[in-house]
């Protein structure tokens, strides 16, 4: 796979520019509940950036803010010169931001192929009449994007389930398909919410390898939430620790591991 990509790198075409992600003092309230409290973070291009913390700490909410699904009451999230707090969610893929959800949110009645093809949606330009007639321009465009999707399918080693209906697949495979759908956007920043949850060790290793591969080859920035400390310490460049909506630490894995407040709040029980 890696050797093939040297000759054929479809992801290098049509890519929006890579930017640092700058989260500037965002606060998010749900009624009286403060889910995020003045969070500031900087994620550099090409980093694997992990967010950890106990359940209910606000990790998913933070990704939802970056994704423009939640609107923080205060603060800004800059990606390039765009404030993500002010754009509608469907604009984000065009800015290069992709997302895979914690509870798989695939299009369960569609095939794997169609789920990934939906990731190419924003690049498709044919008009309705060309779609209704299909043959000619419409078909050419579909095939062009099919090539990209097949590249992703090879990368994630899901060739054999291409035509399978997503809803019928095992959990681990669905997680992989969801990563594939996000990659099909050809993003510069990918947000992964617990991509390895519920997987066995072998599946986790595969997933970790894919994440490292795409960062290496595609140069994608990865922000991920993960509970498996072994994996997080292994693959992350930076780790941010959340507790009750507050950022209690951020730094390299070894710094976070030895931070007394982190040990107290979170790692203490599971990782000492």
């Amino acid at each position: 796979m890696a050797f093939l990509s040297r000759f054929d790198r479809p992801y290098e075409a049509q890519r929006p520019p890579v930017h640092p992600l700058i989260i500037d003092k965002i606060s998010l309230n749900f009624g009286g509940v403060r889910a995020l409290n003045e969070i500031s973070l900087r994620v550099d291009p090409g980093q694997i950036f992990a967010i950890i913390g106990p359940n209910g700490a606000g990790k998913t909410s933070l990704l939802n803010c970056i994704n423009a699904l939640y609107r923080p009451q205060m603060g800004h999230i800059m990606y390039g010169d765009v404030d993500l707090v002010k754009v509608p969610p469907h604009r984000l893929p065009r800015l290069g931001v992709a997302r895979a959800f914690q509870n798989i949110e695939l299009f369960s009645h569609m095939s794997v192929l169609d789920n990934l093809m939906l990731g190419r949606h924003i690049y498709m330009k044919k008009n309705l009449l060309q779609a209704l007639f299909y043959w000619g321009a419409g078909q050419r465009e579909e095939i062009e994007h099919r090539r990209f999707v097949e590249y992703v399918i090879d990368l994630l080693e899901i060739q054999s389930i291409r035509k399978a209906t997503v809803g019928s697949l095992a959990y681990g495979l669905q997680k992989r398909v969801e990563l594939g759908r996000a990659l099909s956007l050809n993003p510069t920043l990918i947000l992964l919410d617990e991509p390895m949850a519920g997987m066995n060790t072998e599946e986790k290793e595969d997933m970790a390898r894919y994440i490292l591969d795409i960062r290496e080859e595609w140069g994608i920035t990865v922000v991920l939430i993960e509970h498996d400390m072994g994996v997080v310490m292994d693959i992350s460049d930076q780790i941010a620790v959340l507790e009750f909506g507050r950022l209690i630490a951020v730094g390299k894995p070894e710094e976070v591991r030895s931070n007394p407040e982190v040990i107290r709040a979170y790692l203490g029980q599971e990782y000492s």
Partner: protein, 362 residues
């Protein structure tokens, strides 16, 4: 589910073909041959029923695009049929627009009206949206009943019906579409074929995928770059275009139209078609249209046969039979859904799978 093996695709083009095998091509040719000779084999009245089925199939495909594929429930089918029917009819009656043009214009008007009534879909989902589309149904019905220019006059007396001028296929008076069932048959078949091909194509492209994605997971679709507002309204417009086309075809196929053909009962009958036939399927919409349109006719002819053979008296026929027919109709729908909740389309593919593996079925 069984899949056909032994077919390997060398190119994406061939993998994305609709009818990849020779057997399927042969079947296509047989179907077309059957369609061409069918009118020669059956009575004018039977052709009339087939024509009604084909119009209903176009309307049901339209509704299925909205409800089955995009997941937006609509109770406004009757209203949208009416907009197409009256749009087409009024253009012909008051502006002498040629029927072909009036038909297309009626469908386009319905697309716009459908798109407008689709606007609430951004805020409303499921049953709430259904209630909003019910408003469309009520408003349109009210307008048709109350607005005078729509009530035509026949022999100087005001009526509830709009009288439709003659429409001739090929400009030839032998081919009067209003009541020459054979002429209308060939015409509506071509229209249905175009609608089927266009709809199938639609779901091979990013438009159709966006519709299905909205149905399956709207938030995820949005996060993948699908503009929900645009695509929901587009689904309403595309769906309504076909429904309006079906309405216009009803007009072309009539000497007069009136509001009774476009009531809430009609909306519900169409929902029954796509549910019984198979939600989110083009062929399902066609199967459903056949089932819902033909079953009452069969029940009626069974009733007539009973009377002719003096198994029941005329008196019983007149008073009881309609209830028996309605009851049987409802019962068969329920039975159908118990046997295969995913509809006739699924039932049919189960049967095909069974025989593909026969005699080694398990």
């Amino acid at each position: 589910m069984a899949t056909q093996s032994g077919i390997y695709h060398q190119t994406y083009e061939s993998d994305m073909q609709l009818r990849p095998t020779t057997a399927q091509r042969v079947r296509m040719v047989l179907v077309i041959a059957f369609v061409l000779v069918l009118p020669l084999l059956v009575s004018q009245n039977e052709v009339r029923i087939v024509n009604k089925v084909m119009i209903a199939a176009i309307g049901a495909i339209g509704l299925n695009i909205l409800v089955g594929y995009t997941g937006q429930i609509s109770l406004g089918q009757g209203a949208f049929l009416a907009v197409g029917a009256y749009g087409c009819g009024l253009l012909m009656v008051y502006f002498q627009v040629p029927w072909g043009l009036a038909l297309m214009a009626g469908a386009l008007i319905t697309a716009v009206v459908g798109g407008l009534f689709g606007l609430p879909s951004l805020r409303l989902k499921g049953l709430y949206l259904a209630v909003a589309t019910l408003a469309a149904q009520q408003i349109v019905e009210w307008i048709i009943i109350r607005w005078d220019p729509i009530d035509g006059t026949i022999d100087g007396k005001a009526t509830d019906a709009l009288r439709i001028p003659s429409n001739f296929l090929f400009g030839n008076s032998a081919w009067r579409l209003n009541d020459n069932e054979y002429a209308f048959y060939y015409f509506v078949f071509v229209v249905l074929a175009i609608v089927v091909i266009g709809s199938v194509n639609l779901f091979r492209t990013h438009y159709g995928r966006a519709f299905i994605a909205i149905r399956d997971q709207d938030i995820a679709a949005e996060v993948m770059g699908v503009n929900l507002f645009y695509y929901k309204v587009l689904a309403f417009a595309v769906s309504s275009f076909l429904v309006g086309l079906a309405g216009g075809l009803t007009t072309i196929h009539s000497t007069a139209i009136s509001f009774e053909r476009f009531t809430i009962d009609v909306s519900i009958a169409y929902l029954a078609m796509i549910i019984v036939g198979g939600l989110g399927s083009i062929s399902g919409a066609i199967y459903g249209a056949i089932f819902i349109e033909i079953l009452p006719e069969i029940l009626r002819s069974i009733g007539q046969a009973l009377v002719q053979n003096r198994l029941v008296s005329d008196q019983v026929f007149v008073t009881v039979l309609p209830f028996v027919q309605q009851g049987t109709f409802g019962l068969l729908i329920i039975l159908m859904l118990i046997v295969e909740p995913e509809g006739i389309r699924k039932l049919w593919s189960n049967i095909k799978d069974y025989f593909r593996l026969w005699p080694f079925s398990y």
